[in-house]
């Protein structure tokens, strides 16, 4: 829990995450793109659980739905679950060393991806295999960098 957080930084990080989730990634490796918005939601609910929570995560997920063209509510519900899981375990999470935090990121964002996949299949998409879990793995790898950069900026600006 940071003593101070910067709201402008929150807005900027959300916009950057949304832009990154539609652009600036090699087309051939799209299946490995980290779930940037999921990471941002994870970071902010982890760092400031009193200010950010389920409802905000849901709204951000709705934006991702609009960008990805999925049925409205699919990513929204999955993001809300991320925020909920982080809220449920943020006190323990704080005690974990960084590698263990990465594992939790993988598990929680993996849950998110699974839920998205499940809902999409229900709505009628067609994508076999476990390829959809790659974003969770790459997000876990990206987590140390994301948290370091955002922490630093938070301390400077907050």
């Amino acid at each position: 829990m940071l003593s101070v957080i910067s709201y402008p930084l929150f807005v900027v990080s959300v916009i950057v995450a949304l832009v990154l989730s539609i652009s600036l990634f090699p087309v051939d490796w799209l299946a490995f793109r980290p779930e940037w918005l999921g990471l941002v939601v994870f970071y902010w609910t982890f760092r400031a659980p009193a200010q950010f929570g389920v409802l905000l995560a849901w709204c951000l997920g709705l934006m991702l739905d609009s960008l990805e063209g999925t049925a409205l509510g699919v990513n929204a519900a999955a993001m809300a679950v991320v925020a909920f899981l982080v809220l449920a375990m943020h006190q323990r999470l704080r005690m974990y060393p960084l590698p263990q935090q990465c594992l939790v990121v993988f598990l929680i964002l993996g849950t998110n991806q699974m839920l998205v996949h499940f809902l999409k299949q229900m709505v009628g998409a067609d994508s076999p295999g476990f390829v959809y879990l790659w974003p969770a793995a790459t997000s876990a790898i990206a987590w140390p960098a994301v948290t370091a950069v955002l922490d630093r900026l938070n301390r400077k600006l907050g």
Partner: protein, 302 residues
Amino acid sequence: MIPWEGLTIKTIFVQGPVPGFRLILVMLISAALIAADTRFEHLTAPVRSTLATGLVPVHWLGYAPYRFTDWVGELLVTRGDLEEENEELKTRLLILERRSLKYAALAAENNELRRLLNSSEAVDDRVVISEVVGVSPDPFSHEIIINRGANDGLEAGQAVLDSQGLMGQITQTSQFTSRVLLVSDSSHAVPVEVVRNGLRYVLLGNGERDHLDLMHVPDTADIREGDMLVSSGLGGRFPRGYPVARVSDIVKEPGEPFVRIKATPKARLNQSRLVLVVFPPENETGSQTEAEPVAAPVGEGD
């Protein structure tokens, strides 16, 4: 009592049972939204359009790096290259002009014949040029985003072409952008006919960019490799006569009721930057409503 102590305790424990309640609430809203969005699209269309319009800056930002590299590329072109390109374009223009002269005469003749036959369908279609400003971030769906929207009069269901052939159709519009479902998406189908002999089939996308599947072709059908498939206009969604794909591979398996036929899309689905959006002919709206257009995106591939 120390004032900040209570505060700290409060910030740690403020989220008791509340997140769980909120999660349930949000899940219920999501379920309702998903159901509404998949079954009653007209209910959520305004929400979708508003959201997409609000997110136009994000699309713009996402596209900015590509625009920037284009701009730098244009700055670094030499005079010689430009002259060469100019020369090339002039030659091309000449060829196309000659062709269009011939076409104008043919179109006039065709319209005349149609008039004699009392058919209302005109040959020419009105189009608007648009630029591709994004691709769908979901690797499993084949969609692109173009920079024209409801403000330019675009609507869901219009056909989109590039210079080579049919690309897909518009599925959603916001004020300034539209989302185009490509023919290669696994939920897309186009009614086509073989140019050589007029056989009619349905061409399905299968989630791969380099080939489409021609469905339900019997063993004995007269179809060969290299046959051109054009949109047949059945179903009322796509205008008639635009090239869609060329048959590339035919596999006959004894014991199977149908031949497996692959066709390569004519349009350059993942390369084209400029696309044409076709407006349906206006004088035909009467007969369109009678025909009750079959929804071209179908649910499942098989």
